[in-house]
Symmetry: D2
Subunit: 137 residues, 4 copies
Amino acid sequence: VDAFIWPIRVYYEDTDSGGLVYHANYIKYLERARSEWLRQLGYEQSALAGELRIIFAVRSLQIDYLKPARLDDRLEIETRLQHCGRASLVFEQTAVRKTIQRELLGRAAIKLAVVDADTLKPRALPETLRAEIAHAG
Amino acid sequence: VDAFIWPIRVYYEDTDSGGLVYHANYIKYLERARSEWLRQLGYEQSALAGELRIIFAVRSLQIDYLKPARLDDRLEIETRLQHCGRASLVFEQTAVRKTIQRELLGRAAIKLAVVDADTLKPRALPETLRAEIAHAG
Amino acid sequence: VDAFIWPIRVYYEDTDSGGLVYHANYIKYLERARSEWLRQLGYEQSALAGELRIIFAVRSLQIDYLKPARLDDRLEIETRLQHCGRASLVFEQTAVRKTIQRELLGRAAIKLAVVDADTLKPRALPETLRAEIAHAG
Amino acid sequence: VDAFIWPIRVYYEDTDSGGLVYHANYIKYLERARSEWLRQLGYEQSALAGELRIIFAVRSLQIDYLKPARLDDRLEIETRLQHCGRASLVFEQTAVRKTIQRELLGRAAIKLAVVDADTLKPRALPETLRAEIAHAG
């Protein structure tokens, strides 16, 4: 299955005084891309939280930083669903910069748990949502 | 009345690739200082939101940036209550750096509205809270 | 002159536990929009800082918060240049949400100084850049 | 060796509309704690970058999120140096909340590379700094 591609522009807010993108800000880029991945399936997290009382909570995250990004860089976040369980999702995501060639800047694996918005206890994904996610991945 | 002083250390997360503290991050410093000002009066916003269903919403903010701050700088945020209305608070806050002399880095005026956490409509401050705030200002 | 329009999507990173967009994060939206305004004129701040040693430093900022934004909202930042001086720029920016009608969420005035990237002292805009900016405004 | 303890207070800026601390913001807490760990050894990163032209770049990061934190929580970040190589550092860090008992909220492993501030190429730690770090770890 092809990766879902989401473009990201680097702004001043993302950089630090070392002149590069601050390492924690890539984690925000990844989350934006997962939100857009879900949106193109027709689901918005505000609606999932409001109507179904479902939240996706990050359980673990592993990231390798390979090359730095800088102010004004145009990046692409590639998102691939690796696994869709009853109450969990595993993604592989990469950050790339496309100049003359494709430069791999970072690579991450993220595990999400599906939890109840009120109790924060694990909850099974509703079956239709799970079917659509599994079909897309 | 003396200002309430809250110390702030500048970390990488606060800076940008210009080498200075990113301008929006001072706004976070100011909010931390107002939270601590309220805490020393004995009130935590999580409890106010949870129990009394009261939130302080920023209505307007005016800030002058006079001198830049840098990584590892130790700043002080000075907070003074200027006015306590039935459903609003006005603060004056300054950011200073104390090295050999006292350097004024920025100065801000912030107006908060007291709103209901559910409806976001304006609400009067509870009388005991209002009395304590007005006495402290 | 028409405003320059830049779309912004609200992500989890932008919200706070009050359920709304955190007030300091609008300041980041405004800066993204000014960066894109400059980019459509053909200038990138990384190049201006690297080659011409010019940085735009925020001198003052005044913002009114009129209505809140929420997770998944799609906003537009409208940017208008109000004044272009020898070494300063003044912008008026608004945040709007377009649903059935156009909702004005906030309104800001921002003054930037043109400074030398090394000394941080005020510097005149290069004449060609100034002419293009003034023509665009 | 005992862990180095650094206290963190949770502010509105750290939370998201799910009501909890946003997952990427823990990464900032960890970096603050490592900065303070280095500071108590007598080193500031601004001086290392300015005088020795040395920067610590995050190479990889693995984090497990075990329990959520909320607005106004008081956390402690525990920092332990696991390994000090010629041009790299490995840390283990945990986030805990101390209420009646000690609650483990998260656990992370972070690998830093020592790089040249100009070329971003790996560089050996200066011997005195390396000796002090290794002694502290």
